[in-house]
């Protein structure tokens, strides 16, 4: 007769514990997600509780001080990014979770920056965008492309999420393209658009594989070769022209050469023994703009002393041959009148006079940086 009573007692206790457990650990509702603007003030009500109910607020599990409360409501002033988090309110001295708010502090989007470029002419072009300042909350972008009155598809880039690609259906069009982008998040909305002709956005990628080599037995020559960018689909029908610039590392002024054909060039007025930096840019022969400069190639012209020179690096010892720094070394067979007559160096003749003196003075110094 006594046995069923304790059994029932245990059952009730267990049930009560289960109820308390579930109410403590699983909220009555999913947290309410709320977005608020950086710098603003926000008042979070504790769900449906009375205005003057006694409650405790917690953020990410940590209790908040009561001086932030206005009755049962939590007041946050001058929101900062650090205020983002999971806010929960409980009736005081109770485990019973009453209400949860997932607060995200952010900004409405400013006008996006949109640009389009064709590095694969005539296949198509791409547009990319970004926001000038971050919003700290998720944004949704929507891009539309109009060619006259016709709408075109902009395919999302598989790797970059702020870029999409458009394929040209027609070439040589007199009608402009209009690309519009709108961005929105929970706090606001913004948009911009750009209009352009097919020809104005053409800009190839820089030339690839720029290699510079010294020419044996030629102390003033460097041979430069490169390849057309692999993204340019049809170099035969849409040939590229190239722009080469080079200077010795120790000088600031570049020499320039424009080349309408071919992917090789020989520099014939290099300073003997000086390490050079060389870059190449590309442009469609008729339309668009120049590409960015390629990755730089480095090379030092051949020098007469037998040394273990690598093709691209300059070893410091070569600078001890200072007498040859700015004039052909006397022991070299000067058999190419073109070299002597080719301006003899950069367009800054003042360089020639001074360093000769410096060179003699610095003859003992190993460091090349002492020259000029």
């Amino acid at each position: 007769m006594a046995a069923p009573v304790p059994w029932a007692c245990c059952a009730v206790l267990a049930a009560a514990a289960a109820v308390v457990y579930t109410q403590r650990h699983s909220p009555q509702e999913a947290p309410h997600v709320q977005y608020e603007r950086l710098g603003s003030d926000v008042t979070l009500p504790c769900g449906t509780a009375n205005w003057d109910a006694a409650v405790t607020w917690r953020v990410n599990g940590t209790d908040l001080t009561p001086d932030l409360l206005n009755g049962s409501q939590l007041v946050l002033r001058g929101l900062e990014l650090g205020h983002s988090g999971l806010y929960a309110c409980f009736p005081r001295d109770s485990w019973h979770l009453h209400h949860q708010v997932l607060l995200h502090v952010g900004l409405p989007p400013r006008e996006p920056v949109l640009s389009c470029r064709s590095n694969t002419y005539p296949k198509g072009f791409y547009c990319s965008w970004h926001l000038p300042t971050p919003t700290y909350i998720p944004n949704i972008f929507n891009v539309t492309v109009l060619h006259g009155s016709k709408s075109m598809v902009c395919e999302k880039d598989p790797a970059l999420k702020n870029r999409c690609h458009i394929r040209y259906m027609h070439l040589f069009s007199t009608i402009k393209y209009k690309v519009s982008i709108s961005v929105s998040n929970a706090l606001g909305h913004n948009a911009t658009a750009i209009t352009f002709d097919e020809f104005t956005i053409v800009k190839p990628d820089p030339p690839e594989n720029v290699v510079a080599r010294p020419v044996p037995s030629n102390p003033r020559r460097l041979e430069v070769t490169w390849q057309t960018p692999s993204t340019w689909p049809d170099p035969e029908s849409f040939p590229l022209k190239f722009f080469l610039r080079y200077r010795p590392l120790i000088l600031d002024q570049w020499q320039h050469v424009e080349l309408s054909d071919g992917t090789a060039h020989t520099i014939t007025d290099a300073y003997a023994g000086k390490e050079y930096i060389i870059q190449v840019a590309a442009k469609d022969n008729e339309i668009g703009t120049w590409s960015d400069w390629s990755v730089a190639a480095h090379a030092t012209p051949w020098t007469e002393e037998p040394r273990h020179l690598t093709t691209e690096a300059q070893t410091p010892e070569t600078t001890t041959s200072t007498t040859s720094s700015l004039a052909p070394p006397p022991t070299t067979k000067i058999c190419d009148p073109g070299e002597l007559g080719s301006g003899g160096g950069p367009s800054a003749p003042f360089v020639i006079g001074v360093p000769v003196i410096l060179a003699l003075a610095a003859a003992a110094a190993p460091a090349s940086s002492l020259l000029i």
Partner: protein, 225 residues
């Protein structure tokens, strides 16, 4: 002779028929001569020269037309100007044009455009504009001759206009001043685009007619360009 805007286009029909009957350039004997290569290069160079000339001419002319025509982002819908030869072409169609068709399209386009330009010249208000336009027309005539030379060298006949396909402009209700200006705007725009297209056309012709090596040509064919 009271030339109203609508009538002047009609007068062009007369002028254009005259232009079509340019004396045919006798076909050159291909064996033993350098081939059409040098004249293709010359034609290409002419398109570049003309494009450069047009840039300053168009700038001056659009300023003369005044706003909004001289605003850089002026983007009107293409209404009217239907008889203007359009440079725009489907990418694949353009790629697969045979040489004869490519040359013919260029020749016909510039014949029409020259015709319209001469009409523009007669309406131009200032003497300086008329001078620039006349100079440009002369250069454009040179380009036409150059294209004709290439076609003759390759043995292609010069296109003769069929009756009824001449560039006429129905002299209906007189064009309003604004619509006339729109027509001028589109003429200049189409001319500029044709010059860009011709440069690409002649590039393609250059490579096809003077391949550096047969192997290279075959290699290109394989890429399907």
């Amino acid at each position: 002779m009271d030339l109203r805007a609508g009538d002047s286009w009609g007068m062009l029909a007369c002028l254009c028929t005259v232009l079509w009957h340019v004396p045919a350039v006798p076909a050159l004997n291909r064996t033993g001569d350098p081939g059409p290569g040098p004249s293709i290069q010359k034609t290409y160079d002419l398109t570049r020269y003309l494009e450069h000339q047009l840039r300053s001419l168009a700038g001056t002319y659009l300023n003369y037309l005044g706003p909004p025509f001289n605003e850089p982002d002026f983007n009107p819908p293409r209404l009217g100007a239907e008889t203007l030869p359009r440079a725009t072409v489907n990418l694949e169609v353009w790629r697969s044009l045979n040489d004869k068709l490519r040359l013919t399209q260029n020749y016909e386009a510039y014949s029409h455009l020259l015709c319209y330009l001469r009409g523009l010249n007669r309406q131009a208000a200032t003497a300086e504009l008329r001078r620039s336009l006349a100079h440009f027309c002369t250069s454009l005539q040179g380009l036409l001759g150059s294209i004709a030379g290439v076609m003759a060298a390759l043995g292609y006949p010069l296109p003769q206009p069929l009756p009824g396909t001449e560039p006429t402009w129905a002299p209906g209700p007189a064009h309003s001043d604004f619509l006339q200006k729109m027509d001028d705007f589109w003429l200049l725009k189409e001319l500029q685009t044709w010059l860009w297209r011709s440069a690409k056309d002649f590039n393609r012709l250059k490579k096809k007619i003077q391949p550096p090596a047969a192997a290279v040509t075959l290699h290109l064919e394989a890429h399907g360009f």
